[in-house]
């Protein structure tokens, strides 16, 4: 009985042994947390310009992609990260896993959207901002008014009707929290979150889930970002995307080359492409804020005033306070069980 089993096992494994020699075409490995369609469109544009390069893309959420890059440090598998939150990229940069590179069109990019250091590590692709997804049908049933400001969310009328991601596992939550700390100040921000905590029914892990939950009526208010809300509206969800008047916490999605990239020249070519106006025009179909200020396209049903409401944020300070904010949040809200609705 042994021999056949062993033989079958070996036979089963053989076809999957890694192939040593690749075909003539060069390959570039790209890690990305951009919207799937956006990432694919950008890659298609790149491959059209560089037909000799085949892009292998690994798509995933912001944090898992960076965790993977950090875990693979001993022998990096990615050549370039094409789109990840700058705060998360900074975590990789702090571990010395990225290399500086100034792409071809760097100087034409809007100054906020590029790394301001002398040796820039990242180049911005687009930006996303916090917003509220508000389910009008369920709100009407319970006679709940639409919030206009972040401060409104502290009103007891919303008790048990708000969900938001936990900043411990979601970059989207972190930018909301950073926004509140910017708007209300350090003390005022935590005071606001204390009151908000009384109203929150659930802190989840996914940044887009609160908008999806609002879209399907599982919650009335989801603190999230606009894109999942826009998608839900386009599918027929009765939700309204509210951009509170105090302003929005936001963050940049950027590209950076991985240290030890096996294919450095092609990774640089990709960074050059990403920094081009043509690439920004592709991204503008998915998110209104891109690396080029003057590109003004609004995706269908996307709120028009997002750009005007972006807060002025100190990204360097936010990156350095990331761990402290998470620890404070965990201390205040990670332990207590939130009230039942």
């Amino acid at each position: 009985m042994l021999k056949p089993i062993l033989a079958a096992t070996i036979a089963a494994l053989l076809p999957f042994a890694p192939v040593g020699a690749e075909a003539q075409q060069r390959t570039l490995t790209v890690y990305s947390s951009l919207d799937e369609d956006q990432a694919k469109a950008l890659i298609k544009g790149f491959e059209a310009k560089h037909p000799q390069i085949k892009v292998n893309a690994i798509l995933g959420s912001t944090a898992p992609i960076i965790a993977r890059v950090i875990a693979e440090a001993a022998s990096p598998q990615a050549d370039i990260i094409m789109g990840n939150a700058v705060s998360a990229l900074m975590a990789a940069d702090a571990r010395g896993l990225l290399i500086p590179y100034k792409p071809a069109h760097f100087d034409k990019i809007s100054p906020v959207m590029r790394d301001s250091r002398a040796e820039p590590v990242w180049v911005g692709i687009d930006a996303w901002a916090s917003s509220i997804c508000f389910n009008t049908v369920e709100a009407a049933k319970k006679n709940i008014p639409a919030p206009k400001t972040w401060a409104d969310l502290a009103n007891p009328v919303y008790k048990g009707h708000i969900t938001m991601p936990s900043p411990l596992s979601s970059g989207t939550a972190l930018l909301a929290v950073n926004g509140w700390l910017t708007i209300f100040g350090e003390k005022g921000g935590w005071d606001f979150m204390d009151k908000l905590h009384e109203n929150v029914s659930k802190y989840g892990h996914s940044g887009s889930a609160p908008c999806r939950q609002a879209g399907s009526g599982e919650t009335i208010i989801g603190i999230s970002y606009a894109t999942p809300g826009v998608k839900a509206i386009n599918e027929g969800a009765p939700i309204q995307i509210i951009l509170p008047s105090e302003g929005l916490g936001w963050e940049i999605e950027a590209a950076a080359i991985v240290k030890g990239a096996r294919n450095l020249a092609d990774a640089k070519a990709m960074a050059d492409w990403i920094s081009s106006r043509e690439a920004a025009e592709i991204s503008a179909k998915y998110l209104p804020i891109t690396a080029y200020d003057d590109i003004q396209v609004l995706p269908k049903n996307y709120p028009a005033d997002e750009k005007a409401k972006l807060l002025k944020m100190d990204f360097a300070k936010l990156a350095s306070s990331r761990d402290a904010v998470m620890a404070e949040w965990q201390k205040r809200y990670g332990v207590k069980v939130p009230p039942k609705n």
């Binding site: 089993i5 079958a8 494994l13 798509l59 875990a71 598998q77 887009s208 599982e218």
Partner: protein
């Protein structure tokens, strides 16, 4: 004594150590590569238990640990209370429709975990049709975790219990009957003791599965913190692999306890099938059968209801506001090259895992049950086989990266290959099939081995002539188990897949992340249908084998 020494057979001496090395390379070493970080500082220096103290000082640990332990215990109790009678129906009664019942019991195993999670939200969530059944409790929290966990571990428990119950010795029942023991007394004094080992295995596995699962608390757990979500926050949210490793070590504790219990149980287990054994004949007791049939039907309806609701959700335009039906969510799967390739990858992964896994499990289970090789090697093998179930997929996957993606490792070349993903998946799901094989073989009497020895048939020969045929139906189940788990596995692979090897289960998660819930549900349904197809093949094969093996029928 004139008996000649039996010629030593190399199989019994050589294979166990080789197998131990092979299994250690795919389980203990990668897991260790991550867990050792629990004792290292950020700079890689040894810091003793400092990380544990740091974690102990974190607010919320005690609550998370208590939540993990209590919710796992409650879920295990409920799952066992449902799975035992259900398994009994499947293998110890002549109730009609057992084939259908078996297939339905396996359904939760066939569906990506996302599907039942959606099904539960559609049924019991804030817009759920049966929301009132929760008596005002919210689904999101302990209630949701227990409900979903019971659903998740039920098929595992049924599989182990039905393997344990499926063989017994009809003579024990005849004897009990002759002693005027009624059906209940026969059940308590003959049936229960005969499946004690399987019951302990099933309960340990159920407890550990709930204890280490991340998916359920993250979807329906609300804000209820458990250790398994803590590890996610630490590793993924804070990139703190050292603290993540600390939680990983804590999550291993129940498995260590389970290993101890298992070791004790194995020592006291007596053979249930002897050379003179007579296969069980299912009794017909009209009243009992009617009650059990009703029970099994209710359980089946509950499972079908949750899955059915999720399928319904994949067909509607937009839950819950536009319930018109259509196939729009399914179009992408068959028009997008990447999604179609993901399906093909999953099939290759599942078939590869089923073949490699079944081969390895047959060997390791056989060595443990037949006490081959050195005792130390055997205990090491059992420990290695018991470990994967206690390790969250995230820990295993990260461990694989740390271990294999290291230029110093001679196996570094495997990085990025489908072979590595298959190895990881085999390792991830190793424990339950291993126990299924051990349980099956432990019921064979040692006398059979002695007879074989007397006839000078070595272990390999005994395996071919006796253990193999006895084990064949179980091995078919094992292959099925590996297959369906490989179709739905996610957490261990998020660090291992590449553009070429991305399986369908990851594609589903990508769709969810992209807020394409309808398409994600549709994809999950397609995965489930493929798994059901495999399960049907499995059940048919099993049926044919059992029918072909005449000795399973009583010849008297």
């Amino acid at each position: 004594m004139a008996t000649r020494q039996v010629r030593p057979d190399p199989t019994g001496q050589l294979v166990p150590p080789v197998l131990l090395v092979l299994l250690a390379t795919t389980t203990i070493l990668p897991i260790g590569a991550l867990l050792v970080r629990a004792f290292l500082g950020k700079d890689g220096g040894f810091v003793g238990v400092e990380n544990f103290l740091r974690y102990g000082a974190e607010p919320g640990l005690v609550i998370a640990a208590w939540n993990s332990a209590s919710l796992s215990a409650i879920s295990t109790l409920i799952a066992m209370a449902l799975a035992f009678p259900f398994a009994y129906v499947l293998v110890r009664t002549a109730i009609p429709g057992r084939g259908i019942f078996r297939l339905i019991a396996l359904l939760p195993l066939l569906a990506p975990s996302l599907l039942p999670a959606f099904g539960m939200v559609y049924l019991f969530g804030n817009q759920g049709w049966l929301k009132g059944w929760l008596l005002g409790e919210s689904l999101y929290g302990p209630v949701g975790i227990v409900l979903a966990s019971v659903f998740y571990v039920f098929p595992h428990a049924v599989l182990i219990l039905s393997a344990g119950l499926s063989a017994g010795d009809q003579r024990h029942y005849e004897a009990a009957r002759a002693l005027r023991a009624g059906p209940w007394r026969r059940f308590v004094t003959v049936t229960l003791p005969s499946c004690r080992y399987a019951a302990i295995s099933a309960a340990s596995i159920a407890f550990i599965l709930v204890f280490t699962d991340f998916g359920i608390p993250s979807v329906v757990g609300g804000s209820t913190n458990v250790l398994a979500t803590d590890i996610y926050k630490l590793v993924i949210g804070r990139f703190d692999f050292e603290m993540g490793a600390v939680v990983g070590v804590l999550l291993l504790l129940p498995a260590v306890v389970a290993y101890g219990i298992d070791w004790l149980a194995r020592r006291s287990q007596r053979a249930m099938i002897t050379g003179k054994s007579v296969p069980i004949r299912a009794e017909r007791l009209p009243l009992r059968d009617a009650v059990l049939f009703l029970f099994a039907t209710l359980v089946a309806i509950a499972i079908l209801g949750i899955i059915g609701m999720a399928i319904f959700g994949s067909l509607v335009k937009f839950w819950p506001y536009n319930l018109s039906l259509g196939l729009q969510n399914y179009e992408r799967l068959f028009t997008d090259d990447d999604e179609f390739r993901a399906l093909m990858n999953s099939l290759v992964l599942a078939i590869g895992t089923a073949m490699a896994g079944t081969g390895l499990v047959a060997l390791s289970g056989w060595m443990i049950a037949r006490k081959l090789g050195h005792g130390l090697v055997r205990n090491g093998l059992q420990g290695v086989a018991m470990m994967p179930v206690a390790v969250p997929g995230l820990v295993l996957g990260l461990g694989y990266v740390f271990f294999f993606n290291n230029p110093a490792n001679p196996l570094h070349a495997l990085q990025g290959s489908l072979a590595l993903i298959i190895l990881c998946t085999v390792a991830h799901f190793y424990t339950v099939p291993h126990l299924m094989v051990v349980n099956e073989l432990l019921r064979l009497d040692r006398e059979i081995d002695l007879a074989a020895q007397a006839l000078r048939i070595g272990p390999a020969g005994t395996a071919r002539r006796i253990h193999g045929p006895v084990l064949l139906p179980t091995l078919i189940d094992v292959a099925g188990y590996f297959f369906v788990n490989a179709m739905t596995t996610v957490s261990a692979l998020i660090f291992l897949f590449t553009a070429q090897t991305r399986p369908a289960s990851i594609a589903v998660i990508n769709l969810v992340e992209g807020s394409r819930i309808g398409q994600a549900s549709a994809f999950a349904v397609v995965i489930m249908v493929l798994s059901m197809f495999a399960a049907c093949i499995q059940l048919t094969l099993r049926h044919l084998v059992i029918r072909a093996q005449g000795w399973r029928r009583q010849t008297a």
